[in-house]
């Protein structure tokens, strides 16, 4: 199964993350890489891995999900901010926080379904800035370090291709019958 947290219904160029839960082993290297790359800008974890275990061995179900800001196309946090401190960058579609405008009311956290914006120790909201110091063409810190390539970043069109390929491969591996596009 492929999990993609991308949504873009707007005209502007849109970058985002693709996350494959099948590949994630929960090593938390992405968390560390994010902290190391962003240094003192980051006073709280911008990316976090949530591990869920359910049931008992051998009937055990587990999943690791690495979550950060998804830079949503129609971002709820942008709509929720009373000071317009959160905005989408026109060139990349990345959601950024203007700390000077932020007053730390946490309405963006309330709005965000992923719990991405966090209150930093300086009283301002912080969140993934898509490694803003890296040029857009290269891998983000979390993506670069991921040993299983569970995280992929890029323009939404490119990520869409990966999603389609993953779904197709999954169906091939599973060798299930009668589930392809509802033909049977």
């Amino acid at each position: 199964m492929v999990f993609s947290l991308i949504s873009a219904e707007v005209e502007m160029p849109q970058h985002g993350f693709y996350f494959d839960k099948q590949r994630c082993v929960g090593c938390r290297a992405c968390e560390v890489a994010c902290q190391v790359w962003n240094g003192s800008n980051q006073t709280v974890k911008w990316r976090g891995v949530t591990s869920i275990l359910r049931g008992k061995y051998p009937a055990l179900a587990s999943v690791n999900v690495s979550l950060a800001c998804m830079h949503c196309g129609d971002a709820a946090c942008v709509k929720a901010c009373p000071r317009q401190a959160l905005a989408k960058e026109e060139e990349s579609g990345i959601v950024v926080v203007t700390r000077e405008k932020c007053m730390g009311c946490m309405l963006c956290l309330w709005a965000c379904p992923f719990g991405a914006p966090q209150l930093g120790t300086k009283g301002k909201m912080e969140k993934c800035n898509f490694c803003e110091e890296r040029p857009l063409g290269i891998k983000r810190a979390c993506e670069e370090i991921c040993p299983t390539q569970a995280i992929v970043s890029g323009p939404i069109e490119e990520l869409g291709k990966i999603v389609k390929k993953s779904i197709a491969e999954g169906l091939l591996d599973l060798e299930r019958e009668g589930i392809i596009l509802g033909h049977e």
Binding site: W110, A111, F114, G123
Partner: protein, 249 residues
């Protein structure tokens, strides 16, 4: 146009702008949050202990500011405390109009709260001057200046009024204003005219403050306690993330 008509018009305009601003910058924002599926479920306050802790820490003691700067924290507490006390006493003065014995006592509080606010604003100014490089974009200095004008013109115009109306029982309780009145009494200035101008400045600045509030960082007065009460503890983030993750199991 006389002063009272001007006062009524400008306050009415300020209130209209205030309401429009609150609608645009708060009510619309919150309704957009509540539209998102399951937000109401996330909003449910699960435990009252963190709620009271948040109210104490954030709304009353404002400890988050202490983490940033203890001096700024003291200034902020004084502005907040003075502001809240001032409005409570103004309200009490309004409802105890016929209880003359209470008015001088309340006037002490009113006078003190104005003084405390003034000291707090002074601290905010000094802090801004010392740390302006770091704080220039963080402190909404326009709001601080506006509030400073409101407070100082209010105190000065009150002093002038007391000078003109010395028979009133209120001067007895006025500490700052009474002293200012005593000193002013030595000079023969056209106090009535000065009072009129100071009062106009006070009302105009107060109306400007009310109108500017929803468009400035001062909206934090409502937005911060609201947002923090909802997202009261660190478990809130974990719960949201766990919910997403569980859906993938």
């Amino acid at each position: 146009m006389n002063t009272i008509t001007y006062l009524r018009i400008i306050i009415a305009v300020a209130i209209v702008i205030f309401v429009a601003g609150i609608y645009k910058n708060l009510i619309k924002k919150i309704s957009s949050i509540l539209k998102i599926q399951n937000s109401l479920q996330d909003t449910k306050i699960r435990d009252t202990a963190p709620l009271f802790q948040t109210i104490l820490r954030e709304a009353i003691f404002q400890l988050r500011i202490k983490d940033r700067s203890p001096i700024l924290w003291i200034g902020h507490l004084m502005i907040f405390g003075g502001f809240v006390t001032f409005f409570i006493i103004e309200f009490l003065l309004g409802i105890t109009k016929n209880f003359y014995c209470l008015r001088p006592i309340l006037k002490v509080g009113l006078d003190l709260s104005g003084g405390i606010m003034l000291v707090g604003l002074g601290i905010a100014f000094v802090h801004w001057i010392i740390y302006r490089r770091e704080e220039i974009k963080l402190i909404d200095i326009k709001s601080v200046i506006l509030l400073f004008v409101v407070v100082i013109s209010g105190l000065m115009s009150s002093s002038c009024r007391l000078l003109l109306d010395f028979e009133n029982s209120l001067p007895v309780g006025a500490l700052v204003e009474y002293s200012a009145t005593k000193i002013s009494g030595f000079f023969s200035f056209p106090w009535e005219e000065i009072h009129k101008w100071l009062y106009t400045v006070h009302i105009t600045a107060a109306a400007g403050f009310i109108a500017y509030l929803p468009f400035s960082k001062l909206i934090h007065v409502v937005a911060v306690p609201l947002g923090r009460v909802v997202t009261q503890d660190k478990g809130y983030v974990n719960r949201k993330r766990a919910k997403i993750s569980e859906s993938l199991l």
